[in-house]
């Protein structure tokens, strides 16, 4: 049962994200179009042009400028949104760290696309994985519906006074961004009430200025210094704040997810990971994004054939949900990790995190399957053969890194 009225609209992932932004009382959007995110920018510009939304759209000449404009707007107290993909995200790289370290709650949608080169416009996760260490919260969506839901939740998470960190909402390029889907859209007022308006946090000013609290924002009435030189005397203290906040953000992510679930009737596992027939399974596949929808189908097929298999989709990748994930994986015979990205010279990024968090906990045999780079198809038949490899992992535990769906 849902608490509010919803209508079903035919939207692709990009349109669903743009629609969510329209409903979220956003003040400033600055973005530069790049395939497969372009529709988000087009839709938001159209909403602004048609007077359907009251926000400032700042046109810029590059992604570096887009995120810089968002940093300025967010520091001035605005609720701020941007969106990009692949090479655009790489051009933003410098500002990613600045956004998170200035503790500005910018929300960004990523249409996952393989980084160049050779030039490719289709889905893999190497772009957002490249931003893994930048201090942003990362949430991966499975479909257009979830992308819509995640953007709405992202504003609440980012702006929560105990968090104040930027949030990235990922969706697979083309597979989600350009695929039309029935999306249940909440009532405008319900979303507006859920996200509210941005409340800027306070900062204490020194005794010589009257021992009072002022808004932590750019304000001519009480000017503050943002982004000063911060060397060996204080830099590490500021990083410690980020480390602790990332850890504590899990509580808020959970709260916001549960509250939204009550409102919309939609929930995604416990908010961090979404297990599917995982409890009594001996063999699991763990992964991110749209592929995990197909994996559920294959799990059903293999269950009918009598194999005790299941799957777990990781929704929140940063902060990494070890409390939710480790108990699910610990007692299994073998677990395959589906990685749509690769750290060249090592393993896929999801595998690295799972292996690190399972270390010393008597975990299962862990095998890394790298798949789908540059949008290479991951059909049910290939997922099935990956499951077969996991089932036989006790006999054949080597090699750990297996690239599947590539010609030999």
């Amino acid at each position: 049962m849902t608490a509010v009225k919803q209508v079903i609209m035919g939207l692709n992932g990009d349109e669903a994200v743009a629609y969510a932004v329209k409903q979220c009382n956003v003040d400033v959007v600055s973005a530069y179009p790049i395939t497969p995110q372009t529709i988000i920018v087009e839709k938001i510009s159209k909403f602004v042009n048609d007077g359907e939304v009251d926000l400032e759209f700042i046109k810029v000449e590059s992604e570096h400028s887009a995120l810089s404009a968002c940093v300025g707007a967010s520091a001035a107290g605005a609720r701020t949104f941007t969106a990009t993909a692949a090479n655009g995200l790489q051009l933003m790289h410098e500002i990613l760290y600045i956004t998170s370290s200035l503790r500005l709650p910018v929300v960004m949608a990523i249409a996952n696309r393989a980084p160049s080169g050779p030039i490719n416009i289709h889905c893999d996760h190497n772009d957002s994985m490249g931003a893994r260490d930048s201090g942003w919260i990362q949430i991966y969506s499975e479909d257009a519906q979830e992308a819509y839901d995640n953007v709405i939740q992202a504003f609440r998470i980012a702006e929560h006074p105990d968090v104040l960190l930027p949030v990235m909402v990922m969706m697979d390029g083309f597979l989600i961004t350009h695929t039309l889907q029935n999306v249940s859209v909440l009532d405008d007022y319900a979303v507006s009430e859920f996200v509210g308006y941005r409340r800027v946090d306070m900062i204490k000013v020194p005794a010589i200025h009257g021992d009072k609290e002022v808004y932590r924002m750019l304000n001519p009435r009480y000017p503050l210094t943002f982004g000063p030189l911060d060397l060996f005397d204080y830099y590490m203290e500021h990083k410690m704040q980020q480390i602790e906040t990332m850890k504590n953000a899990k509580k808020i992510i959970k709260e916001v997810h549960d509250e939204y679930a009550k409102l919309s009737g939609r929930f995604y596992g416990d908010g961090f990971v979404e297990p599917y027939k995982a409890d009594d399974a001996d063999f699991l596949l763990v992964g991110l994004g749209s592929t995990m929808g197909t994996v559920k189908e294959v799990v059903d097929d293999l269950r009918e054939e009598g194999f005790k298999v299941g799957s777990v989709r990781v929704r929140v990748f940063r902060p990494f949900p070890e409390e939710s994930l480790v108990p699910l994986l610990r007692d299994k015979t073998a677990v395959g990790v589906l990685d749509r990205g690769i750290s060249f010279g090592s393993y896929g990024q999801l595998y690295l995190d799972i292996a690190a968090h399972l270390y010393g906990r008597m975990g299962p045999i862990l095998i890394d399957f790298v798949y789908g780079l540059g949008g290479r198809d991951m059909p049910p038949s290939l997922i099935k053969s990956v499951f077969r490899e996991i089932i036989e992992a006790e006999k054949n535990p080597e090699p750990v890194l297996r690239v599947r769906g590539v010609r030999g």
């Binding site: 210094t225 005397d233 204080y234 704040q241």
Partner: protein, 89 residues
């Protein structure tokens, strides 16, 4: 300098609850600009070019460098069209 604080005590985001007015950057300089009042044509070029807004000007008279903030970069002397500004040690 006061005693260094721990991470729980300092504002988040590296934000400093002070404005640039409170950073007296004047003691950075080696050379200071001195304006020759006879030569000055009161065009305001130096006031416009100063990267630290450290030159004060009422729009009519001879501009006056504020040595509390002037870092001594010499941009004003370079830009003065009548060479009325000298950098003095």
């Amino acid at each position: 300098m006061s005693e260094l604080k721990g991470w729980r005590e300092i504002p988040i985001g590296g934000v400093v609850p002070l404005s640039s007015l409170e950073y007296r950057t004047g003691d950075w300089k080696v050379f200071r600009p001195v304006i020759d009042e006879e030569k000055c044509v009161k065009c305001g070029n130096c006031w416009m070019f100063c990267p630290d807004s450290a030159i004060e000007w009422d729009g009519e008279g001879v501009p006056k460098p504020n040595y509390e903030y002037c870092k001594g970069c010499g941009v004003c002397a370079e830009e003065c069209p009548v060479k009325a500004i000298k950098m003095v040690r």
